[in-house]
Symmetry: C2
Amino acid sequence: MAEMTVTPWEVVGEIDYEKLTQQFGTQLITAALRERLKRPHAMLRRGLYYSHRDLGKFLDAADKKQRISIVTGRGPSGKMHIGHTIPLLIAKYFQDEYDCEVFIPVSEDEKYYVKPDLSYEQAEKYAQDNILDIIALGFDPKKTKIHRDFQYTTIYKYAAKIAKHMTYSTAKAAFGLTPSHNLGWTFYPAMQSAHIYLPQFLHGPHMTLVPIGIDQDPFMRVLRDVADHPEIKLMKPGAVHSKFMPALKGPGTKMSASDPDSAIWLSDGPKDVERKVKRYAFSGGRDTIEEHRRLGGNPDIDVSYQWLTIFEEDDKKLKKIYDDYKSGKLLSGELKGMLIDKINVFLAEHQKRRVKAGKQVEKFLLK
Amino acid sequence: MAEMTVTPWEVVGEIDYEKLTQQFGTQLITAALRERLKRPHAMLRRGLYYSHRDLGKFLDAADKKQRISIVTGRGPSGKMHIGHTIPLLIAKYFQDEYDCEVFIPVSEDEKYYVKPDLSYEQAEKYAQDNILDIIALGFDPKKTKIHRDFQYTTIYKYAAKIAKHMTYSTAKAAFGLTPSHNLGWTFYPAMQSAHIYLPQFLHGPHMTLVPIGIDQDPFMRVLRDVADHPEIKLMKPGAVHSKFMPALKGPGTKMSASDPDSAIWLSDGPKDVERKVKRYAFSGGRDTIEEHRRLGGNPDIDVSYQWLTIFEEDDKKLKKIYDDYKSGKLLSGELKGMLIDKINVFLAEHQKRRVKAGKQVEKFLLK
């Protein structure tokens, strides 16, 4: 396996998650911190979210009934698959449990800058499409602000305030920019920072928490450094960092639009889901039923099991699945069946809501 | 005198204007081209505007009654002095003679990025103040669009289209960017390019002409290079380049807000103008009246005479002034008196119009 490289635009090799926290300077989410969370979501309970910055300060502010907010975004590089919902569902968890405002920047500009063949128009179309999926996840229109960089261009004013105090050299060090990167990509760290400071720019200093994949942490590191600048004077935003959702086809594969069978898309029908999980979900089971019954499966590498840790809310049920699979009582086909059911329930609901989302867009968009 | 350095943000040393055209790759405005201009403005007739890019193509388009437009901007780093009107007055000349639309971007973002001590709020205030002066110059509200980067943030969408196709390395080479420059400054070439392509982004491909100081030409060079990109496909904007207006106090001095007596400000009253011109205007006259009468003055280094080449429209009168000053018939005090009168007539009218400009702002602002 290749050596680990993790940047906001590239993840290569086998990931050593603890090493990443050291490399980035983030903290592991301790059991004590986890216990402070109100009815923690499965992804928080089970360690998919495993690292943080200032989660404690965020919870302190929540305890004191101070204003708090959540920011999590979407880079619209294509239609959305199930893995893309991970930060969004955690944002929704915080909205539901902490009754706080959620800001969702949709950065079509980033994708436009980063993908040589993505046209401006296509980037906008993906953004519009993805916004329907975001709304369909069930956010509260009264407490959710979605904004696109090519539409809510007011964001440039806020990006300017950051950009004045962030040097090229800082961005270069954090993101590995080179002189052949285009100016948009070079500027993007200021835009991303503006997204994350936006709740504070609009409502004044308060604690914001940002659910993101650990690969996005370099943005947090760089943007937190400008918080104290006399011209900024905002609170350093906190973050909770997730591990990567295992790819459907297992280690060394990616969920990518270039291979429709590599992922479960939010637009997939029940038959697609069944076919893909049955055919492609990387299995920790044995080669034959007899062997499986005798030796048991390995849930720790089984993608269907890993995905159930996200989709099966009930801890007891999940434990039983784990134990039964490990003992050989539960067969791979049965495990896959459970996942297929869970995903199809989720997607049926999602797709129903998505049809209605078109009419709700205006309620969500920041003006 | 120091060696010549000319960048959009720094002008040092004695300027060799012809050398600059070679260095930047621009063309001298020939007599033949000048003769094609409709009733050329004094600044065009007398060579203050001396260099160009594609002025011929612009005039061809005008001859063919195709759409043409003018873009010239203002970086609001403080209140405006008389030198700042030079590109604006030429823009107005083209509007008057060629009946074309004029776009005037006001780049408070650039000044904010470039001046470490300029606050965001102050940059906006200067922009608002300068817009009144711009309007007071007499632009036609039906054919003039003024826009500020922190207000008409839609410009970011257009800057993005340029930014994708302009590398850091290109901007670095053209503008001498270093890693310690902030991200806003680094991105600014894309914003400036968007200003100049804006008429084409809004109305489709056509010839645009940009009156600018020759020091600003690196922007033109860089932005013209992206015109042919398949995602841009616009016409390369042309430019007419002016020499620098001589500073009031003469060679080696600058007109700067840090020394209010260094320039004539658009807000100066008649007494200010009289005092400053009499006391500070660098003179090509002799030390004594007797000597002046006997040997004559040197109009070519005399700031009052140089400024009259801008403010005295009548070529015959100007020639007589030149001849009389050179022969010693016209004294320095008399020459200064002529300039004082010209400036005060201009400023009285300007200041009257400026009072009314406040009510007109909305008519000029691009939405």
